[in-house]
């Protein structure tokens, strides 16, 4: 495909959701009214996100896979000459998979919401806030996330990074569950404070480096920044990104936000929003301030290792009997652990580790997205996601009552614990492999320790995931269902509905595909990572 077409494709991918968001707020034109305003606007959401997904697949198809290290589909126009800020867009092997993942997950979320509304129309429930705003917010969120992965200017990166906060805040605060306002407020305060610190770091880099252009700055590879500047910049930018990623001990906004968010919000939060933090590390911190990154890498790795252990231990304690553990909360904490692997991979500063990190990024997006969908479905059916209430004395016995749902849940859990042959395995393996032989100048004994800790973390992960599977999927005898708690469904829960299959199958398929054929992804990221670590682009 010619460069111009690619250029327009990328620009359209970023702008289309935004235009769609505005259109969602306007009254539907005649002919598109649908059966009801709710149905029309949700369908609009599916159409727009579907179009964006199609465009991003076209972009991926047109992407020159022979040279993924090169920025492709670039647009570079002046926006604010006074501050030397340019609208600079482009994709390479690092950002392309994330771009497609975002488009895919948002589309699946829109699809899921649309059919869920269709389904619930038959079983009337208390009406929530208008889906109009919901669709508009979803689209703004998509636009912001896509923009984060597509822009190549530090200030635009900051804008895009911030752009997702507001829709996420409202998704949690208005469509969320119990304790949503507090959780949403906490989410926005944490991430905002983090990003203000990040802005200072970005400004420092921009002012000292003479430009906000990421490509130019990466090409300089920190040669124009003094060591002190790099230290301060990495510290400031790193804090902002670490809050988002989230890195232990800056993670405490995440469990509340996930627990309170609606299903779609959790899926997107875990699936793509967290990736913005780790992407920032790879795209900005590593190439632009290599000296600073080198100094702070051991600390980052240490925090990452602690995060892995901490996340798994919390999950284990939540999974215990009588702990009143919430399944959503559990998966949120498991995200802290998984993102710890990603951060560990980045901290090794080796191509192996960073490739592993990027792979684990995508894998986590697919698997945790799937898990949040499944837990959301369980919550819809049982009215609770409290593990104790669900499993009662013997276990929820999903295998017996809803075999497909149970099977999918077990699949998600097994993928999450990193079973070889599924997506979760490669990223974490590579990250640990990178830690085994970290970049020159980094203390090898320290990284070996972190690797050991991470390895221990995978064991703990396996332990709690299997406990969850045992308590939710097994137990009881499938035939005779006794209502365990007030409010639990009287009858056996409905098994996976066709629309749910439609929304989840792509995630399952990609999890298997990425597990069996990791080269497809690694082939894209590796050349780009090599170049980013070397400097240039």
């Amino acid at each position: 495909m010619s460069h111009t077409v690619m250029q327009y494709l990328l620009a359209a991918i970023v702008v289309l959701p935004l235009a769609g968001a505005v259109a969602a707020l306007l009254p539907a034109p005649p002919g598109l009214k649908g059966r009801s305003p709710e149905q029309a606007v949700l369908r609009h959401g599916v159409t727009v996100t579907g179009a964006v997904l199609a465009l991003s697949i076209a972009l991926a198809a047109g992407f020159d896979h022979g040279s993924p290290a090169r920025m492709q589909a670039t647009t570079d126009i002046s926006w604010i000459p006074a501050l030397n800020i340019r609208i600079h867009l482009g994709v390479d092997g690092v950002s392309l998979p994330l771009l497609v993942l975002t488009a895919l997950l948002t589309f699946l979320c829109a699809l899921y919401s649309y059919f869920k509304q269709q389904h619930q129309r038959l079983t009337p429930r208390a009406s929530g806030p208008s889906p109009k705003a919901f669709v508009a917010l979803l689209l703004v969120l998509e636009s912001g996330t896509l923009a984060t992965f597509a822009v190549l200017d530090l200030m635009l990166f900051f804008l895009a990074f911030e752009m997702v906060l507001i829709p996420m805040y409202f998704l949690i605060a208005r469509w969320g569950g119990e304790g949503r306002e507090r959780a949403a407020w906490r989410f926005i305060l944490y991430t905002l404070l983090g990003s203000v610190v990040m802005l200072l770091g970005l400004l420092l880099v921009g002012i000292k480096g003479g430009t906000f252009d990421m490509v130019a700055l990466a090409t300089d590879n920190g040669s124009k920044l003094s060591h002190t500047t790099q230290l301060v910049a990495v510290l400031a930018i790193g804090i902002g990104l670490a809050v988002k990623a989230p890195m232990w001990p800056l993670h405490s906004w995440l469990p509340d936000a996930h627990t309170a968010a609606p299903t779609v919000g959790s899926v997107l939060l875990a699936g793509v929003l967290l990736k913005m933090g780790t992407y920032g590390f790879v795209r900005i911190v590593l190439p632009i301030a290599p000296d600073g990154a080198h100094t702070f890498a051991p600390y980052l790795a240490a925090f990452a290792a602690v995060g892995i252990i901490y996340g798994s231990l919390v999950c284990l304690s939540l999974a215990r009997k009588g702990a009143k553990g919430d399944l959503k909360r559990l998966i949120a904490y498991s995200s802290v652990g998984h993102m710890g692997f990603v951060l560990l991979g980045i901290a090794t500063l080796t191509p192996t580790g960073v490739n592993g990190a990027l792979f684990a990024n995508i894998a986590h997006g697919l698997i945790t997205g799937l898990l949040f969908f499944l837990v959301g479905a369980v919550k819809d059916r049982y009215g609770t996601s409290d593990l104790d209430a669900l499993s009662g004395r013997t276990g929820a016995a999903l295998y017996g009552k809803a075999p497909r749902l149970g099977g999918l849940l077990a699949f998600g859990a097994v993928a999450s614990l990193g079973l070889p042959g599924l997506a979760g395995f490669w990223g974490e393996m590579l990250a640990m492999f990178g830690a085994f032989r970290p970049a020159e100048g980094l203390s090898r004994p320290a990284f070996l320790t972190f690797m050991a800790l991470a390895g221990f973390g995978t064991l703990l992960t396996a332990a709690y995931m299997l406990v969850v599977v045992r308590r939710v999927c097994m137990g009881g005898d499938g035939g005779s269902t006794r209502p365990q708690t007030a409010g639990a469904a009287e009858n056996a829960p409905t098994d996976v509905l066709s629309y749910e299959f439609a929304a989840w199958t792509p995630l399952v398929a990609l999890t298997v595909l990425a597990g069996l054929w990791p080269a497809a992804l690694l082939g894209l990221t590796d050349p780009a990572v090599q170049q980013l670590l070397r400097g240039g682009n």
Binding site: P81, A82, M155, M163, L203
Partner: protein, 503 residues
Amino acid sequence: MGSLIQSVDWLAIAPPTVTAVVALVVLVADLFLPEGRKPLLGRISVAGLLLAGLSLLFLLDGDRSTFCLTGVSGRDACSYTADHFTLVIQLLVLGGALLTALLSISAVRDQRLPEGEFWFLLLSSAAGAALLPASRDLATLVVALEVASLPAFALVGMRRGDRRSSEAALKFFLSSVTATAVTLLGVSFVYAATGTLHLTEVAAKLADVDPRLDTLAQAGVALTLVGFAFKTAAVPFHFWVPDTYVGAPLPVAAYLSVIGKAVGFTGLILVTVVAFPSYAEVWAPALAVLAALTMTAGNVAALRQRPERAHSAVRLLAWSSVGQAGYLLVPIAAAGYADDPAHAIGSTVAYALMYAAVNLGAFAVAALVARTSPRNRITDYRGLYARRPLAALAMGFFLLCLAGLPPGIIGLFAKVTVFRAAVDAGLGWLAVVMALNVVIALYYYLQWTAILFRPAEEAAAETPAPVRIPLPLGAAIALAAVAGIALSGAPQLVLRFASGTLL
């Protein structure tokens, strides 16, 4: 030499003159209009301000000056100059006054303020504010400052029979007069040391002042700044702000928060950068400290406002405007350290333009809410989105601009230019203080924004159905919002002042 009759460039002085003439027209027309036709006065005033604003179009070259002394020491020393700096500030002042006038039309009617007096005073004050940026001698500067201020005292005390209003006016008047007296003392010292009032001449003569008069000149420089610092509501001259804003009719508070400040910092810029550049070591550190104290005091006080207290909305806006004044002072302080002071003050101008649009917008929405809930607490904004979605969206946008967060892109980048001015001047500590303040301010702006979108409480849900928004008020909100959105899309429109040279 030459004739004794000065030739006056009437076109150059058109913006303040048109405003002043319309003020007189309104005053006279008030005598002849029957009670029922009084609303006409508001329309005349709006039209007059529009006309004055349009007259700026003829001055775009930015090279006119008038009331000049020719031949003195080989240079022309002019009292009135319409350069680009003047034009931008006049645009700010007249645009701000126009928005205030739109806000006032319904407020004057609702609160039964005396129409003729109100419009006359507003326009007179605007005329003074429009004259000030063009003044290039200390006498004109002080006269313009007073023309802008004196009507404001009366405007603040306009709510008849309201004790709070008169008290506010008195507070404002007494502190302002003291500040002006100090300024006059400073001006007289400077005059004694240099023997001239023209800013450029003062600058030239201060550069090699008689060593015996050095202390006098230094004291003069410092004292002159006081009056202007008062107008910008810089610490320690900020105590009048909250009570005055709460006591004044809301449009007047909006006017003071924008035009009052514009008057103050314009005067500061002219005095410091044009007249006293050789004494930068006196005023630059002083202004830097003042800026740091002002933003901190304003933001911390704003943070402590309790949302359920009566008038908390206006109080919060008042304190936040003190905080914003601190940001406005940063580039002026930076100008004292920079090699190219005119470059630095461009950031102040850019910031002020952004601030003017969004702060007036915020006051406009506050005026709208005050119509249904006169106590104007921040808690009254709960559920505004459900009642008036557009007004709530606009308010959210204005608050985010003030906070400097996307989608208020212009707010963010205006802060970035101010920040850069500080860093470029080597004022790293001031940049850090500013960053901390931006974070503090985020908290209360965000909290307010969040309240807008919360569902209304059960009790509040029974409030009467919203009445129609009066057209002028709606127009004011829409104008401010359009300005804010246009600037967010194309920040270069104002940020170019931060990169070009104005003075």
